[in-house]
């Protein structure tokens, strides 16, 4: 029997569902930022960390004469992959299956979490070890596991600090960037049962304490959970790049490995890694090469995990792909270079963004994954300075997408409300005035009324009115001149006034 013929517009793919995962904050960015800006310790920690990593990145990038060509190659590979994503995903699935892996498809966070829970229950364990993974943070896997009595132990040092501190990650690469070593020592002393009470705040001592804490778990864990930096369609190979070696332990010691990968992490061929493995470490940690690169293809009897499950996660990604002007956000390889150069991120930190994806990339990715209205303040959390676009290893034009999403927000708002917002009304009025030089000239002359405000110091100081207050709280405003430029020109050169 033929399938029924569908008429009308195809339905839009769904966004990431509400009520699960960590893509939505509790408050709007300006309010969250206001609180973060008052935290002087946070400001100091972030300023120091981002400045250091910015410098390291700039140094190792400058070493490569073909950096711009590499960026362009990375961009083209990603654009090409996204254009043929369904075919490449099917290719990945058959390659993984052919090598003894099991592929699961998860439409959203709920489905992905449920698949993981069932797999772990099937093994009869209630404790798993985890490799640092953005996808599992995005879907709130740890919370979902905890709700059914399964303990997930983070083995990445920074993720462990965040987990022990009952905190949330604030950076894609350095989740505990908002903490300094004194704070970390305090968390370890409080939360690690068998830690030496004389623990110092030397980085080596802190790492040693974490290593001791984790080693026992690596040896006893039956199930490990990872994300993936890359999935290679051609070979079915998955890859994780890391610095500490904890990932290698998780990937090789437990009997069962469960990998959760966003569907956009795909690359077509093995050879494509020659581009990304040059771009990624230099952009993220400012290193020529990361210490550990682990690759695995299905299972190998007698070597490493005996069972491998790959969960391919959508969770709003197909909806992002459907927007031609926004889809490049999916090209992100999670290096976090844009966070480290962003003047907004450097001052507010990652928590202000409310999503596991903070900074410039988060400001374009989170609102697209959730649907614009659930993260409507994020595209405005940027001065559009463009530093992010300059460093992006796959040349995502973040400022342009921010501007696109701002329009998407105002258009969505307008379509859902009968009365325009005050801002929309003001913008329409301004456009009406400015689209006619006579109206514009009259409006300019009326601006001279503002002169009345600045008599005392010849500048306009604090004005306790909405909007004016947002400016004059911290900055004086120039007193309008007696004569506009066009009136001066007309007086000097004759002509229309």
């Amino acid at each position: 029997m033929n399938a029924p013929v569908m008429l009308g517009l195809p339905t839009m793919p769904p966004p990431a569902p509400r009520g699960v995962g960590n893509l939505r904050g509790d408050e709007k960015f300006p309010a969250a930022a206001r609180r973060a800006l008052a935290d002087t310790q946070l400001r100091r920690n972030l300023g120091k960390a981002t400045t250091t990593i910015r410098g390291k990145r700039a140094q190792v990038v400058a070493e490569l004469p073909d950096w711009e060509e590499l960026r362009e190659a990375g961009r083209q590979l990603k654009v090409h992959t996204m254009a043929d994503l369904p075919d490449y995903l099917a290719q990945l699935e058959s390659a993984v299956t052919a090598h003894g892996g099991v592929v699961h498809w998860a439409r959203d966070a709920n489905e992905a979490n449920q698949i993981v829970i069932e797999l772990i229950r099937g093994k009869g364990v209630d404790e798993v070890v985890k490799i640092k993974s953005m996808a599992t943070q995005e879907i709130g896997l740890n919370e979902a596991l905890e709700a059914v009595g399964i303990t997930a132990l983070e083995t990445d040092l920074a993720e462990l600090i965040v987990q022990l501190g009952d905190d949330k990650p604030s950076h894609i690469l350095v989740p505990a960037i908002h903490r300094n070593r004194a704070e970390i020592r305090e968390i370890f002393l409080r939360e690690m049962a068998d830690v030496d009470p004389a623990l110092s705040d030397e980085p080596a001592a802190l790492a040693g304490a974490a290593r001791q804490h984790l080693r026992r778990k690596f040896l006893s864990a039956k199930v490990a959970i990872s994300g993936a930096n890359f999935g290679i369609a051609e070979t079915g190979t998955l890859g994780v790049v890391e610095s500490e070696g904890n990932g290698r332990m998780c990937l090789t010691l437990p009997d069962t490995l469960i990998t959760i990968m966003g569907i956009e992490k795909l690359v077509p061929r093995w050879q494509d890694l020659e581009v990304f493995l040059q771009l990624l470490p230099r952009s993220s940690t400012g290193e020529r090469m990361n210490p550990y690169t682990s690759m695995w293809t299905g299972v190998t009897p007698g070597d490493g995990p005996e069972e491998f499950h790959l969960i391919l996660l959508d969770n709003g990604r197909t909806a992002v792909l459907a927007d031609a002007d926004g889809r490049d956000a999916l090209n992100c390889i999670r290096c976090s270079a844009c966070l480290n150069v962003c003047p907004v991120y450097e001052r507010t930190g990652g928590h202000a963004y409310g999503s596991v994806y903070p900074g410039p990339i988060g400001a374009i990715l989170s609102p697209q994954l959730t649907g614009i209205e659930d993260n409507a303040s994020l595209p405005y959390a940027s001065s559009l300075c463009g530093a992010c676009y300059d460093v992006c290893p796959v040349k995502i034009n973040i400022p342009e997408i921010l501007v696109h999403l701002r329009a998407k927000h105002t258009e969505t708002y307008a379509s859902e409300h009968r009365v325009p917002s005050a801002e929309a009304a003001a913008m329409s009025t301004a456009a009406w005035v400015m689209s006619n030089p006579k109206r514009w000239t009259l409006a300019l002359r009326s601006g001279r009324l503002g002169r009345i405000l600045g008599r005392k110091r010849n500048v306009i100081g604090d004005v306790p009115l909405p909007l004016a207050k947002q400016w004059t709280d911290a900055r004086d405003l120039a007193r309008p001149p007696k004569q506009t430029f066009r009136d001066w020109w007309a007086a000097e050169h004759g002509g229309e006034r």
Binding site: P30, A33, R34, L37, P343, R347, T348, P379, Y380, A381, S382, S383, L384, C385, G386, A387, Y389, E400, V403, R406, A407, H409, T410, E411, E423, A424, S428, A430, A431, M434, S435, N436, P437, W440, L444, G447, G454, N458, V459, G461, L467, Q470, W471, D473, A474, R475, D476, L477, A478, R479, P481, K482, Q483, T484, F485, R486, W488, A490, H493, E496
Partner: protein, 265 residues
């Protein structure tokens, strides 16, 4: 060559001295400058705040008004950036194919002041005189959208008696960002505080740049804390000469916040 001044709506309304200075520099270099009275605004504020459709009549007006000219010069990297990088996008989305062609052609002839002086006129010494300690803030859109590079620095180095001091972390945004300064005023202010600190660290009495908007923000902050340093647009420095020097410092006769000497008005 028919050269038109695009004053920008902000300078027209608030900083006419910047426009006068631009005209002075260009005329001193032998250019005849025209001011098409039909011009209003490039529409950047609308586009960047999310009101792209409302920007269409402004984009159309810009293309129509400036179409007859061989060169369009503006004392703003940001507004020229909008003309060069946003007008085509608006035309493609909301306008006709004819409009796309028209805005692209006009954008190709639109220059920020330092670009026009160095690239089109081939001049680096404009014969200016400015006996002050000055630091230069490269505004983000000049730096990363237009890539004006060291053209403004080259022009400043050639100014007689000017002492140019390097601004630390110069490529960091000052925090203006258009409506960002209002919508995210706390973050904007935090960025401004760091920019003011670097400006004051140089010991310069003047911070200059190619955008009145950023200077209005930095100058407004410096004025609020009575910092003893102020902002002056690049065009005003280039316009000042030994014969007609720019007079700074008489507070009763001039606006304190990047407006230039009011006595000239």
């Amino acid at each position: 060559m028919r050269t038109a001044l695009f004053i920008t709506c902000l300078a027209d309304a608030m900083f006419p001295e910047v426009g006068k200075a631009t005209v002075q520099v260009l005329e001193r270099l032998g250019q005849t400058v025209e001011f098409p009275a039909g011009q209003t605004c490039c529409g950047q504020m609308h586009v960047n705040t999310g009101y792209q459709k409302q920007a269409l009549p402004l984009v159309e007006r810009f293309a129509e008004v400036f179409w007859p000219y061989d060169a369009i010069v503006a004392p703003s990297g940001s507004c020229v950036g909008s003309v060069c990088h946003q007008h085509a996008m608006i035309a493609k989305r909301f306008g006709s194919p004819g409009l796309v062609e028209q805005v692209e052609a006009v954008a190709a002839r639109t220059y920020e002041l330092s670009e026009f002086l160095v690239d089109v006129l081939g001049v680096t010494d404009v014969g200016a005189y400015f006996p002050h300690r000055v630091t230069y803030h490269p505004t983000c859109h000049s730096l990363r959208m237009l890539r004006v590079g060291d053209k403004p620095i080259t022009l400043l180095r050639a100014v007689e008696a000017l002492e140019l001091v390097e601004l630390p972390a110069a490529d960091q945004c000052c925090g203006f960002g258009g409506t960002f300064a209002i919508k995210n005023s706390d973050t904007s202010t935090a960025m401004l505080a760091d920019k003011m600190r670097t400006v004051l660290d140089t010991g310069a009495e003047i911070c200059t740049a190619g955008d009145s908007s950023c200077l209005m923000h930095i100058g407004g902050g410096l004025s609020r804390i009575r910092a003893g340093a102020k902002t002056v647009h690049l065009a005003q420095i280039l316009a000042a000469t030994r014969e007609e020097p720019m007079v700074l410092g008489r507070a009763e006769r001039q606006a304190e916040v990047h407006a230039g000497p009011e006595a000239v008005l």
